[in-house]
Subunit: 309 residues, 2 copies
């Protein structure tokens, strides 16, 4: 909707710049994933095929974009940053594969194609998810990620923390319990911060970590990520509540059917939309001190809201 | 059977020393796991409870024992070694939790208790496995594991490799395909080396890595682990083929029912037993150059075969 674009102050030129930067980041990430994922060969070829099926599904590579932007902002070399970006996308993809399983959200469709367990089988999907998770740490720990072993180890520890029980896995556990728990606003925000926000934070912080930037810089990027993540989640929930299956690339309207906790169900559509706008502006403010080099980062949250309006 | 003990040359004194060392290692590992695993609190408590249920199930802590022995052999401090040992046990336990799922081996019983998905539910078991896998890397990458970040990163990379598609996950993929593939001897040995052997190798090599021992020392421990791992697997298969559910702590006779590929089904009981004895002797020979400090390591493979005779 054009009016939202204007309201958010996102000019055509900014959108074009962001679109181009996202396309470059996605291409660099896909090339790295192609190199870094195991080739399907030997008797275990099937699980490698499933990993590739899950990850090469036309995703926007939003988290890798954040990592590459953060790295560029502080001068970390792109060949290192792209490895971190690929690792983060592997971990993100594992979470989608496992979340789609019949015992979790039981989804048949993801990005317009059969989910991994529908295309292969459940056992292969469980293993492919496990293997993507495992590979993400192997990539970060690899010598080419950074010459300083302490930096590599810190990336591993931070990714594990973002993906663990106080991050993504904890958030998914909360999500599975949502129908009987009836979370209030604070509960839903906590759930979203853990389930989606923690990995956004690491995606944004990985760049400054690679560049060995200051604690202040790392904090700024985490602040940006926190608000971006929540704005993104609201946008995603709006698509689920309002959008078509075609637009979403997955079965829509499932959140409500499954009693899932979303801010939409608590706020209603209009307040959710204005809250997302507020968060987007707050995210942009967190990186406003970096000047025009941060323009694409600043534009991103408004761009994501446009998708959902 | 007493005759096997005599044939293997394992005296009562050696068995007593090994038993005591294994008990000490198990206690040290359990104390570390207690500290390192997330406490069940907050809205995500359920997944933390499931992690603890799965890991505190009275296992023998065989892999941690190997890590602590390897560390002691080359002088790595025990507080560091015990973190590596705990990480390896976490990864091992995740593989059991996921392998037991209905879509994999569909086991109701493990170590004499309901499997994790039977005690909790399938979604929680998938998440608990994911969380144990994730935590294993977080522990290795933690600053207390080793002051040199390059050592921590190498531990992460090697564990990921042992647990990945060319190791444990690849072996499990082969195992799932076994009924239709009809593997020959080379295939079954490859499957076992990947599924079980790779983590045994890392468990043995983690000590010399922590001690920054020589490449030769690392190779000796890997050689030991390779033969030990296969001997252990044959012993385990013998228990499945011959033992009682009570002795095994899990449903026995399932390998044959499920058309699983084992060396027993290819060799028959007697040749499997003698092959395991040969492997045990070969494993012991790989560490014979380290004198009496390696006595418990040398005794271990024969001890494992005694269980199965």
């Amino acid at each position: 909707m054009a009016s939202t674009t204007l309201a958010a102050g996102l000019a055509e030129r900014e959108t074009a710049s962001l679109n181009a930067a996202m396309k470059r980041a996605a291409a660099a990430t896909d090339a790295a994933l192609e190199r870094l994922l195991p080739a399907p060969s030997g008797e275990q070829a099937r699980v490698c095929e499933a990993m590739r099926y899950a990850i090469f599904a036309g995703g926007k590579r939003l988290r890798p974009f954040l990592t590459l932007q953060g790295a560029a902002l502080f001068g970390a070399p792109e060949p290192r940053a792209v490895r971190a970006a690929a690792a983060i996308e592997m971990l993100h993809t594992y979470s989608l594969v496992h979340d789609d399983l019949p015992c979790m959200d039981d989804d048949d469709l993801r990005r317009g194609r059969p989910t991994t367990h529908r295309q292969f089988d459940e056992a292969t999907a469980v293993l492919a998810g496990d293997a993507l998770l495992t590979a993400s740490f192997e990539v970060l720990a690899g010598a080419e990620t950074h010459p300083d072993g302490a930096v590599r180890a810190e990336l591993v520890a931070r990714l594990a923390s973002a993906g663990g029980t106080s991050g993504m896995i904890g958030g998914q556990m909360m999500d599975m319990q949502a129908p009987e728990r009836d979370y209030d606003e604070a509960g839903v925000i906590l759930l979203q911060r853990m389930k989606t926000g923690a990995l956004f934070e690491f995606a944004c912080e990985a760049g400054p970590i690679l560049a060995q930037a200051s604690a202040r810089d790392r904090q700024n990027l985490r602040d940006y990520a926190r608000d971006l993540g929540l704005a993104f989640q609201i946008a995603d929930d709006l698509i689920d509540a309002l959008g078509s299956t075609e637009q979403a690339g997955k079965t829509v309207g499932k959140d409500q059917d499954q009693g899932k906790a979303t801010l939409i169900s608590l706020y209603g559509i209009e307040r959710a939309r204005s809250e997302a706008q507020r968060l987007a502006a707050q995210a942009a403010a967190a990186v406003s001190g970096y000047g025009p080099r941060a323009d694409d980062l600043k534009a991103l949250p408004f761009f994501l809201l446009d998708r959902a309006s």
